[in-house]
Amino acid sequence: MSINKKIYIGGLIVLLSFSVQAQQNLSLGVVLNGSGWSGDNGQGSSSFSSDKGGQFGMSISYSMNKFYTGLSIQGGEYQFDKTGPEQFSSTGNLPTQSVKVKHSDFDLLAGYYFWPKVSLFVDLKAVGSRWLNNDYEQNFSGLGFGVSGYHPLNEKWTLYGSWGFVGGKIRETDKTELGDGVSNALIVGANYTLSKNDRISMGLKVRNYTFDYDDGSEQEYSLNGLFAGYNHVFSF
């Protein structure tokens, strides 16, 4: 499925919701993700790890009764002192050392609470990795599906979580396809109501990526870590 088709599907889901009339909320959020990046370059190659990095993200989400949609952009840099993630490019593989890599996430998401506390969602996701030493960039994008839920503990605290997976293509910036990838993500967190319109959240986010390149190479890595966020909600 091409990226354009995925965008159309995402847009269609949003457009289909226009007819619904219900209570509406708009939420603006920021998040700090103290994740470490570790993985394996596959085929007996080196493993790599960085705990010198993190991500900052912003999100805007809109909910209307049981329906919600939103956009999230997150990014940050990771410093690899020794072995880093290899560049499996269309011109060959390039091992890296002592490299700084920029990692970014883009999510366009729409979900619906089919059950009182459980929702299903689709996520048009794109992940970018950019090696700053030679300014090489590749992207992984695809359509993901997930489930989320929450459990209120009291009027202030709510536990929540989500899990989902994405299947997609790995491409260079000139759209040259390099292979296929899958990823999954697990979030477990707690949300605290500061006031009528303000929330803070904290928890653990685990993301796993597996990339199968067309030349037979394989790379796996994880971005795991704690996060803390703040959301301001406008109700109307």
Binding site: L15, Q24, R130, E137, G146
Partner: protein
């Protein structure tokens, strides 16, 4: 990063247009928490009310003494309907003559639209003719026990019937002695409560013509515990004030009012339907404005019950007097506005993969 730029631009455009379009459409009701005006759930009709309070009787024979609370009852009902339940058309009659009442009922039936919700409230004297077992409302220009100067129940039912044929949901609340005679036919029990959206939609779609009365064929009290309200209206107001749900059916409301009144005074209100007026087992649904107080400590939530001081009750005017605003009595709310944490979907961070 080229993908990111394209995707970001497209996403922002979709979100912005989505926000604008859906915001522009949000005039309907559905399950919306209202801020100004309510409409029939799932339909879009208006909420209208005729509220009558008769306190000062002109009877020279002395058969009908003044009532302490009827006018303040009517004012408090009008106030809560318009400010907390989104009634956009509320006509309040104070110390109304027979002609005033009939004229107002006629006007109300003429304003009624097919999807509308019509509420008629009456507080005042009632009369029961023991020989004929006929019940009456007693207007302020009634002359002794001359029933021809009263409003016969059958006349009230006829008027209500006409309103019911022109609207979706009709509710009569009568706070007077012997008002139960309005219900001698067609009384039904309270239905099992169900708070699912499906249930509300089902009963909202069906026509209803319901009645709640302060008592059966008995005298009812005036000025409950010097509150400025009759016990029936006091507990009716209390239920409406303390209601923490967006939608409240008449069956739910009447069930609670009957219990609380019966538990506190020697009086048992009744509830039922108006027979022959086309009731289809639907429900008149009250929609509470701004019911959710998320983020507010429930211990700090207070509920206002409007109480007019007894000395201000001898009002003889046909229009509400702005100078006689009800005092506010702070009462602890029975249940916090969001006591059930499971009932409100919290605002959570958007899940991402």
């Amino acid at each position: 990063m080229k993908y990111f730029n394209q995707l970001t631009l497209l996403s922002v455009l979709i979100l912005v247009s989505f926000f604008q379009l859906s915001h522009a459409q949000s005039r309907g009701i559905g399950l919306v928490t209202q801020t100004a005006e309510s409409r029939t759930p799932f339909k879009g009709g208006y909420y209208r009310a005729l509220v009558i309070g008769n306190s000062v009787y002109r009877d020279k024979i002395g058969e009908w003494p003044s009532l302490k609370t009827a006018v303040s009852d009517a004012r408090a009902i009008s106030n809560i309907l318009s400010t907390q339940y989104g009634f956009s058309d509320v006509e309040t009659l104070e110390n109304a003559t027979r002609r005033d009442v009939l004229k107002a009922l006629d006007g109300l039936s003429r304003r009624a639209l097919p999807d509308d919700n019509i509420l008629v409230y009456y507080a005042g004297h009632g009369f029961l003719d023991d020989d004929s077992s006929r019940g009456y409302w007693v207007p302020v220009d009634a002359e002794g026990t001359d029933s021809s100067t009263f409003l016969r129940n059958s006349t009230i039912r006829d008027e209500l019937n006409l309103i019911a044929t022109r609207s979706k949901h009709t509710l009569l609340i009568s706070d007077s002695c012997f008002s139960g005679t309005l219900l001698r036919q067609g009384t039904r029990g309270i239905r099992q409560q169900d708070d699912s959206e499906k249930y509300y939609k089902k009963v909202s779609d069906k026509k209803s013509v319901q009645i709640i009365t302060a008592g059966g064929v008995e005298f009812v009290d005036d000025n409950y515990q010097s509150s400025g309200h009759s016990p029936f209206t006091y507990f009716l107001l209390s239920e409406l004030k303390n209601n923490d749900r967006k939608m409240l059916t008449v069956s739910e409301l009447s069930g609670n009012v009957i219990k609380t009144v019966a538990n506190n005074v020697q009086q048992v209100p009744e509830a039922g339907v108006l027979q022959g007026a086309g009731d289809e087992l639907g429900e008149f649904i009250f929609i509470r404005l701004n019911v959710l107080v998320e983020g507010v400590d429930p211990k700090k939530v207070k509920v206002d019950v409007n109480v007019l001081p007894a000395e201000n009750n001898t009002v003889n005017s046909s229009k509400p007097d702005d100078l006689m605003m009800p005092e506010v009595l702070q009462l602890e709310q029975k249940k916090p506005a969001h006591a059930d944490v499971n009932a409100v979907k919290p605002h959570l961070p958007m899940p991402t993969l």
